[in-house]
Structures are given as structure tokens and as C-alpha cells.
């Protein structure tokens, strides 16, 4: 085979090593619940803006009704992107991928971004003091969101415990048309009043932008990890059940893969300290974590030179693909060098470390400025 064609073929899959795997992993979602492949909406999206890197790379792999959101944007209709923020632990790169999506929607698609701070859920399930989680929400999360590029002037950010009466009324009304049996099916048998209230509150988070009192949006899009789909299905069902009473519609949603933990097992998670790099980690600490990370390398250097690495299993490749390399051809080149055995893990980690360090220094500078204005961006609840 002509080597140029060979390179082109590699390039064709180069930045998207997970898409088929995601579909396999999350196959049940597609099959049973009607989640559609995200790549099918890319051509349509392309007509208004360049798809975002997580979209281009198959990391955002599925959607429900996202085509309707794109259509609405093309027609100049009102589209809201809604996300929830759990103020618990440190904000890390696993969280960042969601905020990057919000920034893309806000800057490139001119959609309105709404952020619900799930302090009610955090209080119900995490057993932290209210003052602690309010502080975490503002200074650890919202400040980082702003530093990542979310425009505080254009973003609506609210605490679940400090919002609007019309929102609370939704929670009350929803409670009538939801049964314990269906909640148990989604959230398990161990379902106390705290969890029930926070689940209903989350449904109100998702659906409230449809009400005229909150802007009367045409489409609400909720970007989530694949495991969050049950919440979306519940919100869709609730919208249906109130079709005669309230102007609610089914939310649209997108589904992304999780970032792997640096340890190579499970997802990046604040409950496993070695698995994540926090956005506030001092650069040398972050680099040390990176250098200790699991990779898609082979047992010996010789073997790796012969067989090539396995970027699709590599948290370091993920860090580059999800976060550190914006340019597709640059990422494709890394993929090619790894896959061909041209670059070994030590060297790759060093290159990645340089990018990581640059990002963190830059980000943490922005974070300091963000912390100075964040108090004015969201109103904390008085208790």
C-alpha cells in the first residue's frame, strides 16, 4: 500500500479511537433507549460552526434530539445548555471536559448557558456542612468555570437552594406525577426523602428553562456522561406527563465518555486521589501524577517498538485528546507515533507534561482573577 494512503487511513481514525468502543460499551443505551450516534449530527452542525473537539473525536458519542437543538440554532430560536454542578471535592480534568463544552456552546453557537449548583443534592448525599459546600461551589467550581472561559456576564448560575418561586413550584407539581416505584427503579431501593427531593429538584433544573418565566426556551440541551441518562429519561417522562398543564418539552441531551483515571482503572474521580489531576494542583504535583500514570504502553520497550502502543487504553493519550491538544493533525501525529512504536511512553509523558504545565500555569493565573470577581457572579444562599 502506498505510504501516503496508509497515513491517510490512519489519520481517518487517528483522533477517534473510542467511537466504536463507546457504542459497544454503551450499546444498551442506543438499543433500548433510542440514543443516536453523535457523528450523524456532525454534518448538520458543521453548517453553523466547526464541531467542538470532543465531538470531532468521538468522545461525545451519542445524543437525543440534539439535531433539534442545531435546527433551532440555525433558525435563530432560543436554545439553553443546562448543566448541574455538584460542589464536592476538587475540580479536575474529568470535570473540565463538561465546562469546555459549555464554553463552546456559549462562544461558538451563541446558546445560553445555565448552571445549576446542586447544593441540595450535595447536602442530602454528601453530609457536608452547608457553609463548606457553598464555599466549594463558588471558589472551587464557579471560579474554575470562569477561568476556563465561561463568560460570567452571559451565564446564569444559581444555587438550587436560592432560586425562584416558579422553579420551586415545578418541584412541588412534579412530586404528584412521579411514583416511588419508578424512582426506585432508577435510583435503587435505598431512597430517602433527601434523595427524593433532590431528584425532583434535578428534574426542575432540566425543565424550568421551558417556562416563559425563565425565558421560554425552544430547546434545552443537557450534556452528560453516559451514566446520567436515567435522569434525562425521568425528565422526559415528566415533561410528557405535564403536557396538558405546562409548556414543558422533552430535553435534548448529549452523552460523553468518561475520562479514565490516571491509575488505569475506572474513571477519573475526586474520591480516588491518584486518579485525577485537579485544576488547582501545583504544576509540579500535576506533572508528578502524570509521570506515575498508567499508559497504553507494552511490557518492554522492545515490544513497544515492534507492536506500537495502545492509545485507546492510555489515560495520557486521553489527557492530550480530551484537553491538551486542540489541533487535530497534531493529535493525529501523536496517535501515529504511538501506534507505530515511534514514540515510547517516557518521551510522550515528557511532551505531555510540558503541555500540562503550560496549561496549568496559564489556567491558575486566570483562576486568581476569577476568584476576585466570583462573589458577584452567583448569589450564595444565606443559610
Amino acid at each position: 500500500m502506498n505510504s501516503i494512503i496508509k497515513v491517510l487511513l490512519i489519520v481517518a481514525v487517528r483522533i477517534d479511537p473510542w467511537s466504536s468502543e463507546s457504542i459497544k460499551e454503551y450499546g444498551k443505551l442506543f438499543e433500548f433507549f433510542g440514543i443516536k450516534p453523535f457523528k450523524d449530527v456532525l454534518p448538520q452542525l458543521n453548517r453553523i460552526a466547526k464541531p467542538y473537539r470532543l465531538m470531532r473525536r468521538g468522545i461525545i458519542f451519542g445524543h437525543r434530539d440534539f439535531d433539534k437543538a442545531v435546527e433551532a440554532l440555525m433558525k435563530g430560536k432560543k436554545v439553553a445548555i443546562l448543566t448541574g454542578l455538584m460542589p464536592s471535592g476538587k475540580m479536575h480534568f474529568g470535570h473540565k471536559m463538561l465546562i469546555d463544552q459549555l464554553v463552546y456552546y456559549q462562544k461558538e453557537l451563541h446558546a445560553d448557558v445555565i448552571v445549576a449548583i446542586a447544593d441540595v443534592e450535595a447536602y442530602a448525599v454528601r453530609k457536608k456542612s452547608r457553609s463548606e459546600l457553598i464555599k466549594t461551589a463558588i471558589y472551587e467550581y464557579v471560579a474554575n468555570y470562569i477561568a476556563l472561559g465561561l463568560d460570567p456576564e452571559k451565564t446564569k448560575i444559581y444555587f438550587q437552594s436560592n432560586y425562584d418561586v416558579n422553579y420551586y413550584r415545578l418541584i412541588q407539581l412534579f412530586s404528584r406525577k412521579v411514583t416511588m416505584a419508578e424512582l426506585r427503579a432508577i435510583y435503587g431501593e435505598d431512597l430517602g426523602p433527601g434523595k427524593i427531593v433532590s431528584v425532583l429538584t434535578q428534574a426542575a433544573d432540566i425543565l424550568h428553562p421551558y417556562l416563559p418565566e425563565f425565558g421560554g426556551y425552544d430547546v434545552v440541551v443537557v450534556p452528560v456522561g453516559a451514566d446520567q441518562d436515567p435522569h434525562l429519561r425521568l425528565a422526559r417522562d415528566i415533561a410528557d406527563r405535564f403536557s396538558n398543564e405546562l409548556p414543558l418539552k422533552r430535553p435534548a441531551s448529549t452523552y460523553h465518555r468518561f475520562m479514565s483515571g490516571l491509575t488505569g482503572t475506572g474513571k477519573m474521580s475526586s474520591s480516588t486521589p491518584d486518579s485525577f489531576i485537579a485544576l488547582t494542583d501545583p504544576p509540579d504535583v500535576a506533572v508528578r501524577k502524570l509521570m506515575n500514570a498508567f499508559t497504553g504502553g507494552r511490557p518492554t520497550a522492545a515490544e513497544q517498538r515492534r507492536l506500537g502502543g495502545e492509545p485507546e487504553k492510555c489515560p495520557v493519550y486521553e489527557l492530550n485528546a480530551y484537553h491538551l491538544i486542540e489541533d487535530d493533525s497534531e493529535l493525529a501525529e501523536l496517535y501515529r507515533r504511538c501506534k507505530s512504536g515511534e514514540i515510547l511512553c517516557g518521551k510522550c509523558k515528557k511532551e505531555t507534561a510540558a503541555r500540562l504545565k503550560e496549561f496549568l500555569i496559564n489556567h491558575q493565573e486566570k483562576l486568581e482573577s476569577a476568584k476576585e470577581i466570583v462573589k458577584d457572579v452567583v448569589e450564595p444562599p444565606p443559610f
Copy 2:
């Protein structure tokens, strides 16, 4: 026995034929849950105002911490009287006895009256449309409250679905410290999300006046029927559980007997049409219901003349004692005439009918005026 002494002895119990019976009936409450006899606080209350007729007559028979409310009033501290209103069916004399208490507290004791319209609970359990129950709340209930003498300028009336963010936050916080097991113990096994939310909402109704945001009251008194005590116990427990976080205190409460239904079985209830006289019944309809009512009479006139009637079992006597006769000696005289066999049921009903008719004509005139201003008294939820 000297006949004057005999009359005095009859007079001593004359207006209070139920007190010992109530204590027997509701004995468990006293025994297990620390409800105290209301008569014990009468001397203390007497120092600030003449006790209200339901108090004097043993119809309000028990209390928790009401002595603290009286003490607070004596010291010029802030006392709130809180009640809930279920906007369902027609307002009848069984409901009126609670409103009369509110009017007494407002006019005679200068306490602040707060009325929570339990539209969330009504929506969750009664399966009526929102617009219907909002209309019922305003035009059937609140209008009647005003006509009964509640000062709209001095009364805070709110819909559970249209209130303040600090109140909704209480509901959210309460949800964490209440378990399904205890809710099931109080409200039964068949406990859906709608009922759970309305129970937590009711706890917020009871406790919110303690917060500085709502006036920071020193004592909140909740006058209820005896079957409502579990709600109060839950609210007291919740206040205790938040003692380190929020300035909540245990609510005080008073307990009254139910009015009997006119049919002689069960309590006066809107779900049994023949059992009640509505405040909006045309006087002739009301009189007809009264004339058909069960009484404490004997099988034959001769027997009744010999043995006397049984006012303690008589819904017609109740109607007089609870509502139609304010003057104690007038009521005592009726009691004496009945008990001695001097007056038979037909005549008594006629006398009562005259009082009832006078009351209704008078009340319904006030109701028409109240309906004209009621729109400005409470803000209905937009949906």
C-alpha cells in the same frame, strides 16, 4: 340538696360536657406524648384576656407549650399563630371553629396570624386541577376567613406554591434529616413523592416563622384537631435536629375536639354532605339540615321529659356551644333546660334555627364584601 346549690353545680359543668370525655378519648395523647390539659393554662391566660369560648368550654382540651406562648405574650414578645388551609370542598362549621380561634388570637391577644394555603398538599392528594383549587382557596376559604373577622391587613396568607425562597430552602434541608421509616410510621406505608413533599412542606409552614427572615418569632402556636398531633411531633423533632444549624424552636400547639356531623356519626366533614352546614348554605337549606339533624334526645317525648336530654351527645347542642351562643350563662341555661327535660328537641331546634339563620344572613352579607377585596389579600400562583 338545696335547689340553688344544685343549679350551681350543674352550672359548673354546664358548658363543658366534653372535657373529661375528651381526655378519655384522647387519653393516649396525654399519656404518651405529653399533651397537657388546656384548663391548666386558663388562669394564666385570664391575666391577659378573657379565654375564648372554645377554651372556656373544654372544646380546646389540650396543649403543648401553650403556657410559653402566654408568657411570651405577657412579656410583649413575638407570638405567631399558624394554621394551614386545605382548599378542598366547601367551608363549613367544622372549619369555622379554627378560624374563630385565629380571630380571637388576633383581636384579643394581638398575636400575628399566618395562614398557609396547602395547595401543594391538595394538589398531591385531592387530584383537582390547580386552577380549581386556587379559586377554591381564595373565594371559598380566604373570603370566608375575612368575613369571620380575620383582619386582612394584619394576616399573612400565602400559597405553599407561591412563597419565599428561604421557606423552600427549609423544605430542602428538612428532607435530609427525616427518614422514610418515620414518615411511614406517621402517614402509613402508601407514601408517594407527592405526600413526602407535602409533609416536608407542612413542617416548613410550622417552623418558618422562627427564622429571622420571617420575623424571628419567639413562639409559634399551631391550633389543631387532635388527629393532627403527629404533624406537630414531626415538626418538633425536626426543630430539635436542626438545633445546631438553624434558629428553629419546637412549636407550641393546642388541641380541639372535632365537631360531630349532623348525622350523629363521625365528624363534620365535607366528604359527607349531610354531615355539615356550609357557611355559604342558603339559610333555608341550612335550617332544613338542622331540622333533620340527629340529637341527644330520647326515644319518646315522655321519656325525655322524665330523663332529660343528652347534650354531650347532641350535634345541635354542639352547634350552639361551638358557634351560636357566645354567652356562657345563656348556654348554661340551654344545657339546664335540656338536661332537666324542660325543653324537647323540636323546640330546641327551632330556637337554634333562629340563631343559625341570623348568623348566616349576617355572615353571607360580610362574605359578599370580603369577596370584593379578597383578590388583593393573597397572591395566587401563576400556575
